[in-house]
């Protein structure tokens, strides 16, 4: 009787689906009520299912329960307003459209509601970092506390950020219409938010590897929602999905048992996830069916070059440098230029890499970015100038943003010390 849940992300998925559907049915001005209803429903499901086992169709069970809960919350709210008749009338006029029980037993159709919610979260009046927080909160069932943890912000600051964003959202006329004229523009914002979400998981600040993995996974789940839905399944969507799959394929080798980072060249390639690589390549092919080359196409192509190289030595660096050049034209950024310089060093040697690093336009914007001095240190070390390298790594260490980065840089510093102590082994 106590059958297992469909999968370990069941509650996340259901939370996003239910909040989106209830918000569509009740209207965005009832966003908070929809969230309450869903949270209470899921909490009740935990108690009931623990004792009775899962119902035959858990999703349908939750849909019906959440609907009923929403109706009773609405009634309670209206009773509370009985002495303010004008507000009461307003609430009655709006009614609770679509709250009939027949719909509850339909199979979960196209995930339109979630898609519309995703587009709604990326409202131009909501700042980018808040868009990402909103997506996690409304579509992935993260508590404010969990979002705060993922982004290393205080809980109070995150609560404020979320409540501001929700205010913007609930003041809109309704969930975003997928047929709207600004669909394309909004899609770009959605891509950006999911890209940031994935990167926060991949490179992010949280010292907890499990938290970061969760962010990557959610970004991948949401991008596949886009990819499955025709109007949103553009070449850029496929390219972004490809990028995520190819990067995620390296995750098992990227962090070792102790939770420490291993850089690309030292990763054990046999531990890369070959299924994800195949999926990424397939998506990259799908993304080529268009005229436009987006920044995600280029990043995915770079990731594919790494993923498909049989060994670190056989990485096609010239090709990668070209891809970075194209990416720089599309999205000029010092971080992209930094990555390009590292690729140049691999292709043409550490001197040329150092030159490229020093001539990055707007390098001052990298002043707080630990991987700039770390790259300088790496290349100096490769030239056999361990003392110089140590100076750079120390600077990087001061800038490190979390324990993972700190541990990584400490290991590089130890390598510098080793080479300073016995300069002979420093060659090549």
């Amino acid at each position: 009787m106590t059958s297992a849940l469909p999968d370990e992300h069941f509650f996340r998925r259901e939370s996003g689906r239910l909040v989106s559907t209830l918000t569509r049915m009740l209207g965005v001005h009832h966003l908070a009520l929809a969230e309450d209803a869903v949270q209470e429903t899921l909490a009740a499901a935990v108690e009931v299912w623990a004792f009775r086992g899962l119902p035959e169709n858990p999703s349908a069970w939750l849909t019906t329960a959440a609907r009923n809960r929403a109706v009773s919350l609405l009634r309670r709210e209206r009773t509370a307003r009985r002495f303010a008749p004008e507000i009461g009338r307003l609430a009655d006029d709006e009614g609770a459209p679509g709250l009939d029980s027949a719909e509850a037993h339909l199979p979960p159709p196209l995930r339109d509601d979630e898609l519309r919610m995703m587009f709604s979260c990326c409202h131009p009046d909501v700042p980018e970092d808040a868009q990402v927080a909103l997506v996690l909160s409304l579509l992935s069932g993260f508590s404010a506390h969990e979002v705060a943890e993922a982004f290393l912000v205080s809980r109070a600051a995150m609560e404020k950020r979320l409540s501001r964003a929700k205010k913007v959202l609930s003041a809109t006329r309704g969930l975003f219409e997928l047929a709207a004229r600004d669909f394309e523009t909004r899609l770009t914002a959605v891509h950006r938010a999911l890209y940031l979400l994935f990167n926060e998981g991949y490179h992010g600040a949280s010292p907890d590897a499990a938290v970061r993995l969760d962010l990557c996974r959610e970004a991948m789940r949401l991008i596949s929602l886009l990819a499955e839905h025709p109007p949103a399944a553009t070449p850029a969507t496929h390219a972004l999905a490809a990028l995520m799959a190819l990067d995620a394929a390296r995750l098992p080798a990227r962090v070792d048992e102790a939770g420490d980072l291993t850089e690309l060249s030292r990763q054990e390639r046999s531990r890369w996830d070959s299924m994800l690589i195949a999926r990424g390549v397939e998506l990259l092919e799908a993304s080529a069916r268009g005229e436009v080359v987006s920044e995600y196409h280029l990043e995915a192509a770079i990731a594919a070059s790494h993923a498909l190289a049989p060994s670190a030595d056989q990485t096609p660096w010239a090709e990668i440098v070209e891809l970075y050049d194209a990416l720089l034209r599309l999205r000029p950024s010092p971080v992209v230029a930094l990555n390009r310089a590292v690729a140049v060093a691999e292709q043409l040697g550490p001197e040329r890499g150092l030159q490229a690093l020093r001539s990055i336009p707007g390098a001052e914007r990298l002043a707080a970015y630990p991987f700039y001095p770390a790259a300088l240190g790496e290349l100096e070390l490769r030239r056999g100038r361990a003392t110089e390298a140590r100076r750079h790594f120390r600077a990087a260490h001061r800038l490190a943003r979390n324990p993972t980065e700190r541990t990584f840089l400490e290991r590089r510093l130890a390598e510098c010390e080793r080479q300073i102590a016995s300069p002979r082994s420093a060659a090549d």
């Binding site: 106590t2 297992a4 849940l5 370990e8 992300h9 069941f10 509650f11 996340r12 259901e14 939370s15 949270q39 209470e40 899921l42 909490a43 499901a45 935990v46 108690e47 009931v48 299912w49 623990a50 004792f51 009775r52 992935s140 069932g141 993260f142 508590s143 506390h145 969990e146 969760d214």
Partner: protein
Amino acid sequence: MSEFLYLYRQPADSPNLLDSARTMQERLQKWTAWFKDLESRGHLRTMGHPLETSGAVVSESGRTVHDGPYAESKDIVLGYSVVQAKDLAEARTLAGGCPVLGYGGMVEVRPIRQM
């Protein structure tokens, strides 16, 4: 073998009753695993029931004296089960594995009176 009533109690103001999707998923998994374990070791007499957090307390003459599920204590009984154990010591040990303990709650273990 004796029988024991387990009352699962949680402080009424516990913030853990409502939380994120992740913690809810964990909570369900822990409860399911716990019941399964008791059952497989032959300790689960009746799984019992979860209880709503609403209700009333009624006293003499049927007059409602409180709205709410509790008399004086600030704990809500989330549910109950009947467990079979050798003695109170074993029943206490078994209760120590209950997931409610991880969420600020407790298990009240009461031997069922034998005639």
